[in-house]
Subunit: 202 residues, 2 copies
Amino acid sequence: MTGAKKAPVGRPRGFDADEALERALLVFWEKGYEGAGLADLTAAMGITRTSMYAAFGNKEQLFRRALDRYTEGPASYGELALTEPTALAVASAFLNGSVRTTTRPDAPAGCLGVQGSLASGEAGRPIHDALVEWRTAAEVRLAERFRRAVDEGDLPAGADPRRLARYIMTVANGIAVQAAGGASRGELQEVADTALRNWPPV
Amino acid sequence: MTGAKKAPVGRPRGFDADEALERALLVFWEKGYEGAGLADLTAAMGITRTSMYAAFGNKEQLFRRALDRYTEGPASYGELALTEPTALAVASAFLNGSVRTTTRPDAPAGCLGVQGSLASGEAGRPIHDALVEWRTAAEVRLAERFRRAVDEGDLPAGADPRRLARYIMTVANGIAVQAAGGASRGELQEVADTALRNWPPV
DNA sequence: CCGGTTCAGTACCGATCGGTACTGAAAAGA
DNA sequence: TCTTTTCAGTACCGATCGGTACTGAACCGG
């Protein structure tokens, strides 16, 4: 029973790693992976380069940690939407969440999963690919949920779950781009509502 | 009558500026403004740094020239769509053109106007803003066209041209993101068709 | 052929990139 | 108090960033 997981020998860390990660997330969110430099990041985190490397490994791992935090925080609407009772409610919750997260007054405009690294040089390839996978995963989850809706009779028997999921994901991605360009929450909510008129689109 | 605009004294340029600009466009398209380095650009253009600076000024002006070329070339579907006879035909031509341009087999996936600079550091600010304006301009043109359609009775009297334009532009931006993530032309054409079912969305 | 002009290329500029070795202090256990 | 461990900070690494001075050669009109 050596349950003593605490009391690590040596000098304890002098900063809150969670708080520092949150600050890094905001910088990546605003400037993207390649646009955010170590100088920006460490300045915002309030720590030195050395402390960052000791705590998080390197810039790429820091970004991945920030992406995880983003997924469980600002982007948690994605998982939450899947629990809605009907396909329309799922799609609606997903798009509404997208609108709210991309237009938060206390965070950068847009979506980290989109503007984090949409196009990049060779150096940013791994993160670019990670974000492609991140977006694809969300689309797959939506498709699975819509497939269940077809099975349950909530969607017409002829409906194509993958096509519907791709459509919803496309609108969400478009909302992210619009938000990055300065579109307001009200304007984007109108877009989300418009996208869901006459649901399901046959 | 000093009409002699040709015959510039001195050694003539040893490369085709249009061809070089086309190559630069492809690099910016693939890697984005900040992701594309002078080394990448000049290597693809087949000229040296000096020649590039002499011919185009600097990196930012080179990008603006490339964006102009993109607008008049691969993205010319935007202006062309406006000449369609009905609002539905306009929206359809716009989205179909978006799908084709973002999934050309002979060019990078996605849209230069989106992935050229969606998020960036301080250095890329001017180009970021230029692309926001570029996308906004397209949306405004669409809204004007839809307003005309309302006046002509082609769209219902109660329709909101700006809202419809924003919706179409959002879907087009989403298509660009999807294409950047590897979506196929067929998949995105399905998305475009889905977005236009039951047009106009009241 | 010659003088003038503009080309292309090398070599380099200061600044910044991500990442690290080294120093010295702070805190825990003994 | 002493030893050990890990902290934080300075200073620096080679590489690359965008941009430029300088060198010669190539081409023009005369």
